[in-house]
Amino acid sequence: MAIKRSLGEKIFDACNVIFLVLASLLVVIPVVHVIAGSFSSTQALIQNKVFLVPVDFNLDNYKLVIQNETFWETFKNSVLLVIVGTAINMVMTLVTAYPLSKSYLKGRKVFILAFVFTMIFHAPLIPSYILIRNLGLLDTFWALVVPPAIGMFNLIMCITFFRSLPEELFEAARVDGMGEYRILWKIAVPLSMPIVVTLLLFYAVNHWNSYFNALIYITDRKLYPLQLYLYHLLAEANAIDNYRGVNTLASLDTSPQGLQLATIVVATVPIVIIYPFLQKHFIKGAMLGSLKE
């Protein structure tokens, strides 16, 4: 480590630290602002008194969220979506990746090409929509979990990882009379925990976060996932903003802003809880993703 540093370098280091602190603040401030707002009174929100600390600290907004039946219904749907969707994703991805990782498998190249091709030539949205419709999946829970059953990128990542496992291990298991399924679950998967956890998190976060699929395939409000509910809540707020215009005062008694903020915070909590795992595994995942077949 160089101890002597020129003046220029010192200035650069100082500027660098300042810049990175500013960048971090830029990320943190909007988040803290929303959290602070969610704990503030409606009055304080309307009068724009809230910046980074709650004003008139209270839990009223959260009480509203907890009493909100739509919230709970959509929350439950989202949890179900994450659990069932991710389970389907994992089984399909692992079971498909395993045979495709066998370099001696005949036809392997053709199969992999068939999968990769869909990554570089996407099917347009409408024919997929018509297919889902013809399959009778429209407005069902399955429209959200079956069509995205295999993430192609994740599949390639998984194949790449399986290929790094020593084949001798599998041969030994075969000699012991184990079938391929048991080899996959008892040997390949336990040895691939880094990629398995990464995929699990990738898929789960994706299911939790997306609303556009639900927007396309779901019209029944009973099936809305949380993000679609949030979409409508926020789009509505935005529309009201427009309707009010610049100079009209917000109506005092019905301002749902606190509710919106508290809903946003609650919807983010699961992500924040698993963030330490995400950070640990996703970074590996992002690195693995850069590997090629």
Partner: protein
Amino acid sequence: MDRATPMPAMPEKNKSGLAGFLKFVVRHRALYIMLIPGLAYLIIFKYIPLAGSVIAFQDFNIFRGIWNSPWVGFKWFEQFFTYPQLRRLLFNTIIISFYQLIFAFPAPILLALLLNEVRKMAFKRTVQTIVYLPHFFSWTIVFGFTYMILSVQTGLLNSLIESLGFERINFLQKAEYFRTIIVGTGIWKETGWSAIIFLAALAGINPSLYEAAKIDGANRFRQLWHITLPGILPTIVIMLLLRIGNILDLGAEQIYMFLNELTYRTGDVLDTYTYRIGILGGQYSLTTAIGLFKSVVGFLLMVTANQLSKKITGEGLY
């Protein structure tokens, strides 16, 4: 069903011909059986819709189906390129993508370079933890944050503008701000995350190069120019080409959340129009033509980018 295949998995002697192949399949049937669900999924949910894209050349009617709808040739494609309203979609898509390329693409490279110069590990890790986080927020939530900053009534920025004595600006309802907001929120959400790949490339540079440069008297700026940048150039090229390959793919999740009637002029893109006019409006053939156009252009760009990448950096995506 999953009876053990007794054969140890040695590479077969190349017995060419169908008989040899069938023998191989029978011997390794367990592996092929495992492939069935994945292949069924692939065919049903990826290739059938691809084949269904022929409705782009039809006047598709949902009740008559693909088999009975009349063929109209390139009618929808012609419309797409001649109707001003449709050309606008293409223009919006390309211009937003272009802005992203210019402003959002270099941001993570810069961030990675700056993070790489930090000497205090604890500080570096703290910054990383903070800037990676927004990647995991959904676009609805990011819109919520944006709304709290830019909203005309309660937005932080508008409070600031007002306290400085100016008039509040309705950022989210004005077409002229839409593209800036899309690019800006994109940078906010993804810069940290995208920096990871460049940080990895930076970590892969041989430290002895820096040692040698120091002995030769190169200061840190010269080291940056002569060692660091050339070291991550292949990664930059690959990411850039990938980005170009996706130029018509703007995330609908993001744009549709931010879009409203007042911002269609600058913000309505191919994907959002497809949803509104196709799925809500039932104009299946026109929107399929748009989708197919997007797929073909994306495919061509991707293939070209890959060839270029192979030529320039020796590395391709596939």
